[in-house]
């Protein structure tokens, strides 16, 4: 059975989301958001475009690398660049972010190297960067688990009397998980400085958002005592403004905030998924017309703040970053076999030490290094 968005489903309605940039790039006004991007410069806007373009280009490279057999899997983020880039850019370096496995744009904005995006999908490592170097937690695979970590981190900030904010990213599907609902209970009860960013991309693998919620997701938060806003997730201006509002609220000690960014998962859930089995072509094309990059490009061109020359040099830049990511994947070195036992514990564990010694003796029995995978 093919699912399509039904326009009378308030759970999925796009029209009521707060917006500052229409799909065709026309500048709109929203009294809740306007003052949060007052004075935003053309340079900043071009910077946001550039970030989104890099995110999109690397995401496409990830898909290509998987199709070519260099990665086991890739989770495409195509279509979701605006919410990821805008919200991450709005954060302070000392805020701490707790993303899911799809937030490639967030990682890039926070300073991840191209190799950081790809070595885990290649199976070389479970995590590719020091969370404390980027102030970003390792992207989470257990759906929604990261929301509790963000709340706990924020509770720690309160105890330190700091003014950092914990930001957590998750999808519409995740909002059904107990952990996400518990996170909202705990955040509210403790008034913790957390911003919940729900990327409602309309699909949890093959399940439409109407299976997860019969009510707009942003509408759930006030039930927990958390102020919320539903924002056009493909509008980088609205996402920037909404995130600035949210961060300011949380940082001031007024408690948690919930943003529902209404967007669309243009690609499959992962490269192992086949959306043609459950999704309508028309729906995809309707959302292509709402693309986050084309609408910002249209606006900037109209304002004479973006031209073909700049776009050309940007393409060269994004191709360069993609090449770095490709090189990192293709030149990756698989670690020696004995290292599979590394880092299970912080302190010596006699049981594991014994296993390590025995495994090392076993590996020593191989004269051919490659045979042992050493």
């Amino acid at each position: 059975m093919m699912y399509t968005l039904s326009t009378d489903d308030t759970a999925t309605a796009v029209d009521d989301a707060a917006r500052l940039l229409a799909a065709d790039g026309t500048r709109l006004h929203d009294s809740r958001l306007d003052h949060w991007i007052e004075g935003i410069t053309a340079d900043e806007l071009r910077g946001l475009y550039r970030d989104m373009a890099i995110a999109r280009r690397l995401d496409a490279e990830g898909v290509a690398l998987q199709r070519q057999g260099h990665l086991g899997l890739w989770a495409p983020s195509q279509g979701q660049e605006a919410v990821q880039v805008a919200t991450a850019r709005a954060c302070r370096p000392d805020d701490f972010l707790f993303p899911s496995y799809r937030e490639h744009g967030v990682l890039l904005v926070r300073g991840a190297a191209p190799s950081d995006l790809v070595l885990n999908w290649r199976g070389e490592a479970h995590s590719t960067f020091d969370p404390y170097a980027l102030n970003v937690a390792t992207p989470q695979i257990i759906i929604g688990a990261q929301t509790l970590h963000a709340v706990g981190y924020a509770m720690g900030v309160q105890r330190d009397e700091g003014d950092q904010v914990a930001v957590t990213y998750f999808g519409d599907g995740a909002t059904s998980q107990g952990d996400v609902n518990e996170a909202m209970v705990f955040a509210s009860s403790f008034g913790a400085p957390v911003v919940f960013v729900c990327s409602n991309n309309h699909w949890a693998i093959s399940e439409p958002v109407t299976v997860q919620s019969r009510f707009p997701i942003a509408g759930r938060a006030p039930g927990f005592g958390i102020p919320s806003m539903r924002v056009d997730g493909n509008d980088v201006l609205a996402c920037t403004a909404a995130m600035r509002w949210a961060l300011d609220h949380a940082r001031s000690g007024a408690g948690p905030v919930f943003l529902e960014a209404v967007t669309y998962r243009m690609g499959p859930h992962t490269t192992s998924d086949d959306p043609t089995r459950y999704r309508d072509r028309d729906e995809l094309e309707r959302w292509r017309a709402r693309d986050p990059l084309t609408r910002l490009e249209a606006f900037l061109r109209r304002e004479h703040e973006l031209d073909d020359a700049w776009m050309l040099s940007l393409t060269a830049e994004t191709d360069g970053v993609a090449a770095q990511m490709r090189a990192a994947a293709l030149n990756a070195h698989t670690r020696p076999a004995i290292e599979v036992l590394d880092d299970v514990y912080a302190e010596p564990h006699s049981g594991l030490q014994r296993q390590r010694a025995r495994f090392a003796a076993y590996l020593d029995g191989f004269t051919d290094v490659t045979e042992a995978g050493r």
Partner: protein
């Protein structure tokens, strides 16, 4: 030395840990004003305040998940799970996050959590209040598992667990919360035996009994009773279930050649199964007889009036001691049921049951 109940010894241990390190925070249901349903956290809210003694919403996954976040911020959380049977909602956070974050991040993120669990039965409780889930956590790589049997260990090992940079699941036998013992409150934990060390609590030469938690008391009672029969039993209190101190166990088994492992948890894939497999691997040629397990049955914990038939008591332990000594015991002449199946199966029997 002070005579203290295990409960009070735990309170003292928490107090000492919280005084020593102001990054230690305690969190759980009802641990604040109430002082915990077992009063283990009694007085700590008044002393350390609500920033460090947190009454948490009624959601175990949320409690452990937020403890993970606090640890990432550099705190040292001590979580109280109200009863053993309530740890399961937190199982995903414990197994997928607490146990794996250090490995996942190649050591960048540490999880110095302690998760305290009032544990096991023998207290006439309602369903779900007498669980022995330790095997699930022993089996989970990345966790350390401790089971205390006496007030001194409760005082010392809780502090060691809190100071340890690895996550520790800390089992407290609730039926011993009110049992008293001598505690040296002035003892420096730096001088205490390592947390992973087992203890020979009674020397003997004929049989080794390995056990942990409240079963240590039962095993000691069995050893005293066995003396009258001229049997000398060595009792080892494991103290740590992950890692297990095989050095101490192997030294004992090499001496006695006969091993009995007893625990309240069901035998199937339990800690006893692991100990016996490892001892068999390491000490096979020193064994004089097949090692024996004396455990709870593989049943859900029974109703209170029947629990004494489930928790291994002194008699069942002595029966296993007889068995490992190849003396007459309850299974002498016992035929394994499989051998009787062919004789019992009849076409008529199954027909009558469906009518």
């Amino acid at each position: 030395m002070t005579s203290l109940t295990m409960g009070k010894a735990l309170t003292a241990g928490l107090h000492a840990a919280m005084t020593r390190d102001d990054r230690v925070v305690i969190m759980g249901e009802d641990i604040g004003a109430l002082g915990g349903v077992f009063r283990i956290t009694d007085g700590l809210l008044a002393e350390f305040g609500p920033k460090r003694v947190l009454d948490m919403p009624l959601a175990e996954s949320g409690i452990v998940g937020t403890a993970v976040g606090l640890a990432m911020r550099g705190f040292r959380p001590v979580v109280e799970i109200q009863f053993d049977g309530f740890v399961y909602p937190a199982f995903d956070q414990i197994v997928c996050q607490v146990a794996k974050l250090h490995y996942r991040t190649r050591g960048h993120v540490k999880m110095p959590l302690t998760i305290r669990i009032p544990w096991a039965g023998g207290v006439g409780a309602a369903e779900h209040h007498s669980e022995s889930p330790e095997a699930y956590f022993v089996h989970t790589a990345g966790l350390r598992v401790i089971a205390v049997s006496n007030p001194q260990d409760a005082f010392t090992m809780l502090q060691q667990a809190i100071a340890c940079d690895d996550p520790v699941i800390f089992f407290e036998p609730k039926r011993l919360y009110h049992a008293k013992g001598e505690v040296d409150l002035a003892a420096d934990i730096a001088d205490a035996p390592p947390m992973g060390l087992a203890r020979v609590v009674r020397s003997g030469s004929d049989v080794t009994i390995v056990t942990y938690g409240a079963q240590v008391t039962t095993a000691l009672d069995a050893a005293i009773a066995a003396e009258d029969d001229g049997i000398s039993i060595e009792v080892i209190d494991l103290r740590a279930l992950s890692p297990v101190d095989y050095r101490t166990i192997a030294a004992s088994v090499r001496k006695t050649g006969r091993l009995v492992v007893t625990h309240e948890a069901g035998g199937e894939a339990g800690v006893g199964a692991e100990i016996i497999a490892s001892v068999t691997e390491q000490c096979f040629h020193h064994l004089e007889a097949a090692p024996q397990r004396v455990t709870g049955h593989d049943i859900p914990y029974p109703p209170a009036k029947l629990e004494r038939h489930h928790v291994p008591d002194l008699d069942r332990i002595l029966d296993a001691v007889d068995r490992v000594l190849e003396r007459p015991n309850s299974l002498t002449g016992f035929e394994e049921p499989e051998l009787r199946v062919e004789a019992a199966t009849q076409a008529g029997a199954s027909e009558s049951r469906t009518r």
